[in-house]
Amino acid sequence: MKRHSLSTRVWHWVNLICVIILFMSGLNISNAHRWLYWGEWGFAPEQAWLQVPRFPGWATIPDYYSLAAARDWHILTAWPFAIGMLFMWIAMLVSRHFWRDIRTTRDEWNMAAIRNDIVQHLKLNFSHGSGKYNFLQKIAYGLVLGILLPGMIFTGLAISPGFEAAAPWLVDAFGGRQSARSVHFLFSWGIFGFFVIHVALVLLSGPIRQLREMITGGRL
């Protein structure tokens, strides 16, 4: 049995490329109007709950300010990102990967055990007993796969006026278009935070082996 199934590996790398393009083109789009609002509307600084910094060229796609080109990249990459997410969820449910490996069990929700898990992580001790993932990994992967990544798709659709005619309830579900836009921004930084921690932990836990296994599948 492989440590990572083929569907996981293909999705992982396709998704990585998509997320990088979406994040960097998204920062360029953010530069077009750097204020975030709650509710349905908002168009002036005094209505904003947050003024976002201007993101420098090296962090954006393209590397100069172009709302039109950034939207082209964002709109194109949204397709493989969303279809990939759908594919990954179907694969995870069919193979029972989610149920078996990512779902938390009731006895894992135990303060002493969670505290011990955190202490072991801080001591850079990544060996854990039975099961593929420990509690913190399950929470992190569950949050990213279940909430942050799909959340980007749904908030993105809610921002789109053409899609609104197909699903007006989606805008309401987020409490208005500007709320959906704010959540879109916050979730993108949630994904960035996951990315930083994920890469740091891979680097600390044998990066060559980890990378090789995410390509070849590895052995369990």
Binding site: A32, E40, F43, I159
Partner: protein
Amino acid sequence: MKRRAVMAGIGAMFVGACSKIADSKVGSSLLGAAEDWHRKAHRALSDRTALVNEYAKADISPYFRGNGSTSVDTDAYRMHAANGFADWRLEVRGLVRNPLSLSMENIRKLPQRTQITRHDCVEGWSAIGEWTGPQLSTILDAAVMDPAARFVVFRCADNLNGADYYESIDLVDAMHPQTIIAHLLNGDDLPEKNGAPLRMRIERQLGYKHPKYLTAIEVVSTLDGIGEGKGGYWEDRADYQWYAGI
């Protein structure tokens, strides 16, 4: 500082690759095609008359932001404004059996639709206002379109950075119930910054598709030869998406 330099280096390499892709023939056609896939998906998922949200009076923004052109800098426009746009005409021409030239009085006497909708700018902000005016479909039905008609082009009085503003939509959006020619905002004549005396409302698309200072509606079979051929001022000038439903 060193780590940041490395990050910036990797970022620059990636961005460099992206701009190479964008400049290549396949890359740029792919980037352009994605817009069509979204339009087709939106149209497939909803009825052609499906409406966007309409709001209550209490939801209306305290004022309605003006963006892009906020006035028209010509003597003719100043004279129209000085006499309350009493002599403003809206022409309906192109591939129609009955070309029309409508006065403001004609437009006010047509059946009216009032809708409280949200205006979404491509930049990201939104404002809510109540718009009143006749549906474009009423006028197009009166003019009787030729079977070859495929697009509706909107001609405007404003000139932005040296080019005349114009926009275009296909017939699905032209015949949509919420596509109206607004002459009232929140019950009053349109303010100058919002397009006095007439502006389009094309509610399933972003703000740059809603041209202001409307002078003519042209029914055409192709967008070639109009402006630079990309279907609108921002499309020509900065390669904005022609389908702005995303």
